[in-house]
């Protein structure tokens, strides 16, 4: 247990150190970094991604992942657009979109946990399906133009100088930290990710846990979709484009592992902060946007290789490879 604890600390240390380095670099190089406008846009880019990263981290901990969260986010924006167009009151919009997101998550959970389809293939498939469904709504949603004022307040509103979405993120951080560390179900996720066969033999209902994790991920993705759509004030077709990649890289940078059994809620937030600071750096230092894709891809490969190396070392130590 002590070893696990120190290891988690070390993993979070990496992401926080990288964040600090980027902040220092941006303070020195980019004059506008500490302005209010830039800090606001940083919040607005970190918060929705971090909300999704909690779900992704829970899945990574038990050794799964979800590539369809970007499409879920897009779908959430489109559905809230349709509902706003139909004149639904704001609480009905939020409730229905969250239900949609939960349904998307349950679909993924059904495919992966019940039908035992490989998580990557299943969620790539649903990614395409939900992207297609969302985009068929685009023409109808275009008529909306802008969301009603009280819906926009969800994304633009502030309390004590921070956006509502930042408060939501902080609240979820507290909830997920507690859930993963201290609740029996949270600990089961780690056991499941660490050794699935053993967890199954000990009588854990792995299918139910994985199903619930996927449902939660879909729910969080639609919540993030509402907040992001409210922030950009209209349903955009570009929402959620690369967000599944960003989330996955962020979680692994923040101490998660594709092999499962590792990770924490704080790590997820730190990883997302790192990714957002990186984007911010590209904007402030006026580097090419396309170059960002290259860098992110290379970071992903580096992260996978390091993760794989550590994993191989662990396997060799216990004599399994």
């Amino acid at each position: 247990m002590n070893l696990l604890k120190s290891l988690t600390r070390k993993n979070e240390f990496v992401s926080s150190a990288m964040c600090v380095l980027l902040v220092i670099l941006l303070t020195v190089k980019g004059e506008v970094f500490w302005t209010k406008g830039n800090l606001d846009s940083l919040q607005a880019s970190i918060a929705p991604t971090a909300i999704m990263a909690f779900g992704m981290m829970a899945l990574l901990v038990c050794g799964y992942f979800d590539l369809s969260i970007g499409s879920t986010m897009l779908l959430a924006g489109m559905v809230s657009g349709r509902l706003a167009l139909a004149g639904a009151p704001i609480y009905a919009i939020v409730a229905l979109v969250l239900i949609t997101g939960c349904a998307v998550g349950c679909t993924n959970g059904f495919l992966v946990a019940k039908l035992r389809i490989n998580a990557l293939i299943a969620t790539i498939g649903t990614q395409y399906i939900f992207y297609g469904i969302a985009m068929t709504q685009l023409d109808k949603v275009r008529a909306l133009g802008k969301f009603p004022e009280n819906f926009i307040m969800l994304g633009e509103g502030k309390a004590l100088g921070l956006y509502y979405m930042t408060w939501v993120t902080l609240a979820l951080l507290a909830v997920f930290s507690y859930f993963l560390k201290y609740t029996p179900t949270g600990r089961q996720l780690y056991f499941l990710g660490g050794n699935r066969e053993a967890a199954r033999l000990m009588g854990f209902n792995d299918r139910r846990i994985i199903f619930a994790a996927y449902a939660a991920t879909g729910l969080l993705a639609s919540l993030a979709g509402i907040l992001a759509a409210a922030r950009i004030q209209s349903p955009s077709q570009y929402m959620g484009g690369n967000v599944h990649m960003t989330c996955m890289i962020a979680c692994v940078v923040g101490g998660g592992s594709f092999a499962g059994g590792k990770g924490s809620a704080l790590g997820a937030v730190l990883g997302v902060a790192f990714m957002s600071l990186l984007t911010n750096m590209f904007n402030l230092l006026e580097l090419k946007a396309q170059l960002q894709n290259v860098i992110v891809g290379l970071i992903l490969v580096t992260v996978i290789v390091t993760d794989g190396c550590l994993n191989l070392k662990k396997l060799r130590e216990i004599g399994r490879a």
Binding site: Y128, M135, Q292, G308
Partner: protein, 327 residues
């Protein structure tokens, strides 16, 4: 039956020819008959010819993919390598003013290096190939954007355009090459000592290493082939379009996974055949052609393709568990 070699070895019994593994033939035939009966313009020589012409480009990207899927590896970077072929060809032709053949040769060599690099990482560190190739996919996509934006709107010279649409015996040479490669590899996979190794590796990786096969080298080589052949397909496609384009090869990976799985390859490895992959690719692209001729929205087409992919994978899992394999 080539694709059962690994399995026969493990089970110690010879399996008979089964019609079930050729489901793709029935599917393709049904699709052709349906479209021929309902659409007037479908069953003409020129339409079928042009469908097969674009199928052939995409089939080149599916060759390496099939070899890898036989070994239980997935290469999701095929789509971006397809685009990379076009972008690099543009790079060499516009920036260095190289003649077309040199440019194409250099493009393919560069792509093979990229494939070799990802293959090396995957084999050396035993990484999840899907994850690594997703990373490669993103990086290469970024490179494609940068390259294509630098020479947007410029056309290839005639020497770099004409060669794709040369006819041999009244048929485009790319179609003939496609069929030749499919037949040759199909026979080699069943008979050749070297290519049979792929099935053994896909069936039981650890045992093949104990028996002294250099499985890692084989994997590296196949990743290089996959990248190089995808780029080759991309070069041909771009030459047909006459200018590099960012959309070349986008979403290609999902079409190819669907094609491979629908034609009976298993994502768990040990099964798969080039000839049937060719039929699978033809099926997927004919389906897209048919849906377009019915004026179905592209986004709805995406939904349908996603559903087909998940169904095909589900049936694959059902077939595997019916065969008594626990995964």
């Amino acid at each position: 039956m080539g694709e059962d070699t690994g399995r026969q070895l493990a089970a110690g019994r010879a399996e008979k020819f089964s019609f079930a593994s050729w489901t793709i033939v029935y599917l393709l035939a049904a699709l052709f008959i349906f479209l021929a009966l309902t659409r007037n313009a479908f069953f003409t020589f020129s339409n079928i010819h042009s469908i097969l012409h674009s199928v052939s480009f995409n089939f080149y990207a599916a060759i390496g993919f099939t070899l890898l899927i036989i070994m239980g590896e997935l290469d999701l970077s095929v789509g971006s390598m397809f685009g990379f072929g076009g972008a690099m060809m543009g790079f060499f032709i516009f920036m260095y003013k190289l003649p077309a053949p040199t440019a194409i040769a250099l493009t393919i060599a560069a792509s093979a290096l990229v494939g070799l690099a990802s293959g090396f990482l995957i084999a050396r560190f035993r990484l999840n190939s899907m994850m690594v190739t997703i990373g490669v996919m993103m990086a290469i996509k970024g490179v494609n954007w940068i390259l294509v934006n630098r020479f947007s709107g410029r056309q290839f010279p005639a020497s770099a355009r004409r060669f794709v649409s040369v006819d041999v015996l009244g048929i485009k040479w790319t179609i003939i090459l496609m069929i030749a490669i499919a037949l040759a590899l199909e026979i080699l996979l069943a008979k050749s000592r070297h290519l049979k190794q792929l099935y053994y590796i896909g069936h039981n990786f650890d045992t093949t290493i104990l028996y002294g096969l250099n499985a890692n080298a084989v994997k590296c080589a196949c990743f290089a082939i996959s990248a190089a052949m995808s780029a080759f397909g991309g070069v041909l496609m771009t030459a047909r379009l006459a200018h590099p384009n960012v959309t070349v090869g986008s979403n290609l990976e999902i079409s190819i996974i669907t094609a491979a799985v629908i034609s009976g390859a298993s994502i768990f490895g040990g099964r798969g055949s080039i000839l049937r992959t060719m039929l699978g690719v033809t099926f997927v692209f004919t389906l897209q052609n048919g849906m377009t001729s019915y004026n179905i929205n592209t986004y709805v087409q995406q939904i349908i393709l996603g559903v087909i992919l998940i169904l095909a994978i589900y049936l694959d899992i059902r077939a595997n568990s019916a065969a008594g394999e626990r995964r």
